[in-house]
């Protein structure tokens, strides 16, 4: 029973979210013109279909518990795969994954105040170390030289205005830009 509940849970959550969005769609403000469907029609149609699919899946899981309809590729892969399957993915480390996501979010948060160079060098180094790579020289080259190369390419060649940072960090970025001939 608990397995079935766990399998039905994602559909219940998606169904509830769709129902909430349907409510939001029903309150979209617009100037109604006679004979027109209005801007809420399309999203309501999509959400109604999403709710219908979720209800169908919940009912299917509750009643049969078996596998639902599958796509053609999955069907063919099952039927045609004679012996050699793709290797199974290794087990997952949730702490490392969470750290990776948090590190990336922290980087994006610091990108504005620290500027591209000062935020990217530590981010790249931390990312590579978190990923399990420990050769210090390579980590330093990948983060330091790699960041300078990207900065040069994107600012000088592609003309992207990367974040400069604030205060002292801005001075560091401007110094590097002057050194690399970026205006």
């Amino acid at each position: 029973m608990s397995t079935r509940l766990a399998r039905a849970l994602p559909y219940a959550l998606v169904g509830l979210a769709s129902a909430y969005l349907y409510y939001v769609a029903a309150h979209i403000e617009y100037e109604h013109r006679a004979g027109t469907l209005g801007p809420d029609f399309w999203p309501k149609l999509v959400l109604a279909l999403a709710i219908a699919v979720c209800l169908f899946e919940i009912a299917r899981v509750a009643l049969s518990g078996g596998r639902g309809a599958v796509g053609e590729i999955a069907q063919l892969a099952e039927r045609a795969a004679p012996g050699e399957e793709a290797p199974a993915p290794p087990p997952e480390s949730l702490p490392r994954l969470a750290a990776g996501i948090a590190l990336t979010a922290l980087y994006v948060w610091l990108l504005g105040p620290l500027g591209f160079f000062c935020a990217t060098v530590p981010y790249l180094a931390a990312f590579v170390v978190l990923g399990g790579y420990r050769r210090r020289g390579v980590v330093a080259a990948v983060s330091g030289l790699g960041t300078l190369l990207m900065m040069f390419f994107f600012m000088k060649v592609v003309y992207v205005s990367l974040p400069l940072g604030e205060g002292a960090f801005r001075e560091v970025t401007l110094f590097l830009m002057r050194t690399m001939g970026i205006r």
Binding site: V53, R96, F127, F154
Partner: protein
């Protein structure tokens, strides 16, 4: 006909300009490298290359991305065959006969069959693309919004019913994509939808942000969780390519032709790309092939079928892109984005307004097919060595390319936040087996579908039956519904069989 050949000739002349040749070469090499690396998919590679084209002229930009697309359908086969590591999802069928052939000491021959299949499929699809594009554009000029909506509807239903392990999950992904596409100001009525008072959402959510986040960052997060690793390359020094003889190739001629035709047709269907083509072709071979009972034992038919179809899907996917502005695959969606970033909207009129660009791109597909095969023949050993490079370092730069690509489009940190959010969404989709392709295609095709649907409703007094009563749109709509209903019918039949078995 003569006009087409003349224009193609001009296209080849344009291609000889140094900047275009350089773009072609760089695109080919990067496409091959991206396909070899298991952590980087073809679509991801094209996404990551997009920001590098911002400051380029339109022709070399499109040539670069197209060359990556073409060569990306080929090189993943090498690692499937040699190391049992599919470089791309489309290369999984190559494990069944390609790797088996290699394990029996005929790796060079397996690589040779792959090369021959990619060359044949590639040249045929390039020819079909050139011959069909202009007539299709002329037909597309007669289409009304009802036909356009029906075509997109068909694309969306086919991507759900062909791919994925669960039809329901595919549909939910698709609906999520369609909903994301509604965020912002509505095109027809000008009202705000689902902005929740957040200013940046008023401009809508750019599909490139969703693609970069879901395909790029999502994959990196998944690999971060699973732990980065490099493939073992003990036997790489012995790698060589042995082409099949003409007599050997003639013996599997029907597989070459079947795979190519299937690839082109699947490519034309909006939404279905090289992966669908590759699997379907192997499936068709396993049902109708002359040596279907030997498939899986390392026979050439099992290599030729998926590889011809994968490469042949490229030209097919370019046809709806160029002639109707409808991307036929994930990679063509990025190429569409590149066209639009450079101020050119592909569609039926493009042959009138910008035929020189279109034919230069067509010429580049021919050149890319030949180029990738030459590089593949000479440099497989060198290129697969990229697998020795630590995956974590490549992934770190993938993240940087994703972030810079998202930032460069509008110089907005909010877009960078959005790709991180969609990166997490992409990871969660993968983790809980909700396919990403329908989500992304929903975001891309959603606005086009909605605009065409609403315009049809306005034009025909909200009479939705017009979608079924107009001959062309009616046929396409019925095909689309049949595509969607068929897996359910099959499921119900399976249930009934199981119930009958239980009773016995």
């Amino acid at each position: 006909m003569v006009e087409i050949f003349q224009n193609l000739g001009h296209g080849f002349v344009q291609l000889l300009e140094p900047v275009n040749l350089l773009s072609l070469g760089v695109g080919l090499v990067f496409g091959l490298l991206v396909a070899v690396l298991p952590g980087l998919t073809l679509v991801m590679g094209v996404v990551l290359a997009l920001p590098f084209t911002y400051s380029m002229a339109i022709t070399p930009s499109i040539i670069l991305l197209t060359a990556m697309y073409v060569s990306g359908t080929y090189a993943g086969a090498w690692t499937s065959i040699l190391f049992r590591v599919p470089g791309e999802p489309m290369d999984v069928p190559l494990l069944w006969d390609g790797y088996t052939m290699a394990r029996r000491g005929r790796a060079a021959k397996a690589l040779g069959w792959t090369l021959a299949a990619a060359l044949f499929g590639g040249l045929c699809t390039a020819t079909a693309m050139v011959m069909l594009a202009q007539p299709v554009a002329k037909i597309a000029l007669t289409f009304s919004t009802a036909e356009y909506f029906a075509l997109i509807f068909f694309g969306l239903t086919s991507v759900v019913s062909l791919g994925g392990a669960s039809l329901a999950n595919g549909l939910i992904s698709l609906f999520a994509g369609l909903m994301l596409a509604t965020v912002g100001v509505d095109d027809t009525y000008g009202s705000y939808r689902f902005t929740f008072g957040v200013p940046i959402l008023r401009d809508g959510i750019d599909y490139l942000v969703v693609m970069v986040g879901a395909f790029g960052l999502g994959e990196v997060f998944m690999r971060m969780g699973q732990g980065f690793k490099s493939a073992p390359l003990e036997s790489v020094d012995k790698v060589s390519t042995q082409l099949p003889t003409l007599r050997e190739a003639w013996a599997v001629r029907s597989t070459f032709v079947r795979g190519t035709l299937l690839g082109i047709v699947v490519g034309i269907v909006p939404g279905a790309g090289a992966t669908v083509a590759s699997f379907l072709s192997y499936g068709v071979e396993s049902q109708y092939g002359r040596r279907r009972h030997e498939l899986g034992n390392g026979i050439p038919d099992g290599i030729v079928a998926p590889q011809t179809a994968a490469t042949a899907s490229v030209g097919g996917a370019m046809i709806p892109l160029i002639t109707m502005g409808i991307p036929g695959s994930g990679a063509t969606a990025i190429i569409l984005g590149a066209f639009m970033l450079h101020g050119l909207q592909p569609g039926a009129q493009v042959f009138e307004t910008s035929s020189h660009i279109v034919y230069a791109v067509f010429a580049s597909v021919f050149a890319a097919v030949i180029g990738m095969c030459v590089i593949g023949y000479l440099a497989t050993r060198t290129l697969v060595r990229v697998l020795e490079f630590p995956e974590v370092i490549i992934s770190a730069y993938v993240v940087m390319c994703c972030i810079l690509g998202a930032f460069a489009a509008r110089n907005s940190i909010t877009d960078v936040w959005l790709i991180v959010v969609f990166g997490v969404v992409g990871y969660l989709c993968d983790r809980f087996r909700f396919p990403i392709a329908p989500l992304v295609l929903g975001v891309i095709l959603g606005p086009i579908a909605e605009t065409n649907f609403m315009t049809t409703m306005i034009s025909y007094d909200n009479d939705w039956t017009v979608l079924f009563t107009r001959p062309i749109s009616g046929v396409i709509m019925f095909l689309a519904i049949a595509t969607l209903v068929y897996p359910f019918v099959r499921w119900l039949r399976r249930l009934r069989r199981a119930a009958r078995g239980a009773l016995i």
